[in-house]
Each structure stands twice: as C-alpha cells, then as structure tokens.
C-alpha cells in the first residue's frame, strides 16, 4: 500500500484516495487544428518512469492535489496542491 502526501492531512493511506489519472497539458487554443485537438483530448502520457497524476482525498478532507510518482518503483518525488479552478469548492473532478 502506498502512503500519499495530502497537502492538508499529511501522509495518509492510499485507500483513502481516488486516483484521477495523469495531468494534462494546458488546454489548446480554440484555433488549434483537429489533429492536435484530438491528441490533447485522447492521448495520455504512459511512461515507464515518473508520471504527474491527480489524486482526490475522497475519504478524507476532499482536497485535490498532484504528485509525481514513478510507475515502477512507486517513488513519490514532488507534492504540490492543484491550484486555480481545478480545485473547486465542491470537490468535483473538473
């Protein structure tokens, strides 16, 4: 079991959290071509290595945050809260 660093509650068991997949790059502008839009919409990163991913402390404080985790060793290297609209008041996945 992993222990995840919630920015509000500290180190908590993985079972309290909901994984929301890898973070996406910034949404492209409206004048982007179809191919680039489809790529942004459908293609996630899938590295053997570090992946930045969103987690939701669903069975805890409700905080959304991003960590960088290694997909083989599970090593967690950074911990920064999701900022702006992504962490809205209702605790919903944006």
């Amino acid at each position: 079991m992993l222990t995840l660093p919630c920015p509000f509650c500290g180190q908590r068991d993985e079972t309290e959290f909901q994984n929301a997949g890898p973070t996406k790059p910034a949404r492209p502008d409206a004048d982007v071509c179809d191919a680039e839009w489809i790529d942004w919409l459908t293609v996630p990163v899938n590295p053997i290595g570090y992946v930045a991913e969103k987690w939701w402390h669903a069975k805890g404080c409700g905080k959304w945050f991003t960590i960088t985790r290694h997909t083989v060793t599970h090593e967690i290297v950074t911990n920064e809260p999701v900022t702006g609209e992504a962490n809205n008041k209702n605790g919903e996945n944006p």
Binding site: E14, T15, G21, I38, T42, P44, V51, E53, T71
Partner: protein, 416 residues
C-alpha cells in the same frame, strides 16, 4: 513436425518417447523478413499462425524480449467469454469464443478446453439493469446470457453461502453465460507457436526490440534489437502493456494507459465449483482449475503502473470481498500471487489498427486479452496481409479516436 494422435503416442512409446520433435525450431536471426511481430505472447503467436495458415505469409519472425508465453498469457485467469454490451464488440468476441472451441483440433494440441458457464452474481439494482441490457443485446448477436433466481444460483454454486437477506449486499439475482470456458493458457501459446513454426515462421526469444526504425519517407523499415538490426516492410507491435514503450521510439502516440492487475491461486482442494463465478458488485471473480486450485482475480491498482506485483490492500480487498460470499473459504491458503501489466483505452475497447506510420500495425488496449487471442490474431493477420480490417475488427481501428466515435464498453472487465 509429427502430429499428435493416439497412433503417434503408441509409436513413440516404442522408443520410450525419446524421439519427439521440438515444438518450435530455433533458427539463426536473418537480416530481413516480410513481417516482424514484436511479442511472442498469445496475440503475437496467434497472428503468426493465421498469417501463415490463412494468408500464406510465412517469411515472418516473432521477436520476444523474454521467453515465449511468459507475459500476460502466463498471467491471466483463463476465462473465455463473450458477454459484452456493444454491437461493435459482441460479434468479435462471439467469433473468438467459437474459434477457441475448435482451437485444440485446429492446432493439434491439447488445450484442456473446458466449457463450463460463467455465473454473474448480482447484488445491486444498477448492475442488474446494466447486465439485463447486455443480456438483450447478447441475444441479438448469439451470445447467451440468461437470468436465474437466487435459489438456483445457490444450488449451482454450493459454497456460495454468503450474501443472504441480512448481509451488507444481499444477492438479488444472477446471470448465466453458457458459452464461457476455461483452457490451459500456456497451451494456447505453445500450440500457436508449434503450428506457426511448422509452417515456416521463426520465433526468436531473448530478442529485445530497442526501437522501431523508419525510412526517410517515414515508412517503417525494421527494428533495432539487442541482436542487431532486423529489416521488414511490415511490423506489428503486439506487446500488451508495453505498447506505448515501443511505439514512442518511432514518435507514435497512442490513447492507452497501462495498469497492474493482480490474481491469486489457492491450495488445491476437492472439486466444489464447476462454473466461473463473477461478482461484479464486489470486484472479485474465481474459478476452480483442473488441479483443484481456486483461481481468484481482483481489482486493478489505482494509477498507472508497470510493476508486476500485488499490493497488500488489493490482496486484502479481494480476499475480504470473496469471504463475504464464500465464508467457507476463510481457511484456504493462498499459494501464489502475481500481477500483470495491461493497457486500456478510455473507452475500454481494443485497438487493432494501422497507424500514422505506414507499415506499422498495433494490437493493444485489450485489458484482459486472453479471451480475444484467436479472434485478435485472426483479425490482425488479415489486416497485415490485406491492409484492410476484416468485418469483426473494423470498429477497432484508431479512426474512432480521430472521429470521437468511441465504443464505450461495460463488458470488458469482469471486476468492475
């Protein structure tokens, strides 16, 4: 290559079984082939078999990083079924189940195929509605899925004593999928390898593909391996969870993510369950092998993973939920456990497709791909040989992502 038969068995008994030929030949690696298949697993070897048998293309090499049949074909829960939801998925998996049924004869290899029905135990009304929808669409496509009541369920699965009226999630019904079967998973890999090799296909184990090579005009030229460069005009990537690892070496991006899924095997006990039992509301499924071991599957790890292990909490969840329905199993010892890397697209539907790189083919996104091995190989071989997908695999191309025309499938995973 000698055929297996009662006569050949008796004939070889005279020489104390010392003169059987090997299942597949070990030939030196050539510089160029017509087709390269990356991955000697179920789908890769099936593709080689059908390329040689149905399309007469035998100048084929199957390249394998580890050993033949050592990946997900060795790591599944051997369930063969076709109880899917969508019009696009059902004909494909119905075909796969029917190919499995005749496969032992086709390959002249004993696969210990055992048709034994799968029973889905339903404990919530949303699942009942979803599963009834699958039932009705299954009837249209020739995949049986019939409701039975709780009394009949308990009679057919005697150890299922939990889930009573006062439990956390009382059982409200069940659904029987009669075509479901199990078979010897290693035998599928070995049988396809033996058949492909006898038709001239070369299988090269311990040959790791480091990168895909492209010509100046962008088409595929071959692959770079730990044993040198191998050229081919057509290359098929059939490596399950590591598909993106290979395709990114040619700059190709694919809409799949890889996850770790775990399974366990108990100590062998007397025969007590003769069907495959699936509990979708709890996220656990099990069947009993011919040796008597209970083969138990659980839920995937949250988050992407290339780690073939079992997390303690995933293991405990599977055991606790199983004991809710099968309290008598609390004294069973679990002997072995393993994980496997599976990939899935967000619409939970496989991809058998040409790509933006001419000459490069991919077969991925299978999640549990064991049930699809014959139809997957059959369809990918057709695509490689003719350049066009066959009828059953036509919906599974990458075009559905370009047109945002997804096939959102609920029948892909047993556990969720």
């Amino acid at each position: 290559m000698g055929r297996f038969s009662a006569f050949s068995l008796a004939w070889h008994a005279l020489s104390h079984h010392r003169n059987w030929t090997r299942y597949w030949q070990n030939l030196p690696l050539a510089k160029k082939y017509d087709v390269l298949i990356i991955g000697a697993g179920g789908h890769g070897l099936a593709t080689a078999h059908y390329l040689a048998k149905n399309h007469g293309i035998a100048n084929v090499a199957v390249l394998e990083k580890g050993w033949l049949g050592g990946g997900n074909i060795a790591r599944n829960t051997v369930t063969i079924r076709s109880n899917y939801l969508r019009d696009e998925s059902l004909p494909f998996f119905v075909k796969s189940v029917s190919l499995f049924e005749g496969l032992a004869k086709d390959l002249n290899f004993n696969l210990m195929y055992s048709k034994r029905s799968m029973i889905d135990v339903v404990q919530t009304y949303p699942k009942m509605r979803e599963i009834r929808r699958r039932m009705m669409n299954g009837y249209l496509h020739g995949s049986s899925y019939s409701p039975i009541d709780v009394a009949e369920l308990r009679q057919r699965v005697p150890p299922l004593t939990g889930g009573g009226p006062n439990s956390r999630l009382p059982i409200i019904g069940a659904m029987v999928h009669e075509e479901a079967a199990v078979c010897r998973h290693d035998g599928v890999a070995w049988g396809y390898a033996r058949s492909a090799s006898s038709r001239g296909v070369e299988i090269h184990q311990h040959t790791e593909v480091k990168s895909l090579l492209r010509d100046n005009d962008g088409t595929i030229k071959g692959v770079e391996t730990n044993r040198g460069t191998v050229l081919a005009d057509k290359v098929a990537v059939v490596v399950s969870g590591h598909t993106t690892t290979i395709t990114q070496t040619a700059g190709l991006r694919l809409p799949v993510k890889s996850f770790n899924l775990a399974a366990f095997v108990s100590e062998p006990v007397k025969p007590l369950i003769n069907v495959i039992v699936n509990c979708p509301d709890l996220g656990v499924y099990l069947n009993q092998s011919d040796k008597g071991e209970l083969v138990i599957g659980g839920a995937p790890d949250p988050g992407q993973s290339f780690r073939r292990d079992v997390k303690q909490n995933v293991f405990e969840d599977a055991v606790v939920t199983m004991l809710e329905l099968f309290p008598a199993f609390r004294r069973l010892k679990l002997l072995r456990q393993w994980g496997g890397v599976l990939d899935i697209a967000h619409d939970a539907t496989p991809i058998i497709s040409t790509t933006d790189i001419p000459g490069l083919f991919v077969s991925c996104g299978w999640w549990g791909g064991f049930k699809a091995v014959p139809a997957g190989g059959y369809s990918l071989a057709h695509l490689i040989a003719t350049g066009q997908p066959n009828d059953i695999a036509a919906p599974f191309t990458l075009d559905r992502f370009r047109h945002l025309d997804f096939i959102v499938e609920s029948g892909t995973t047993t556990a969720r």
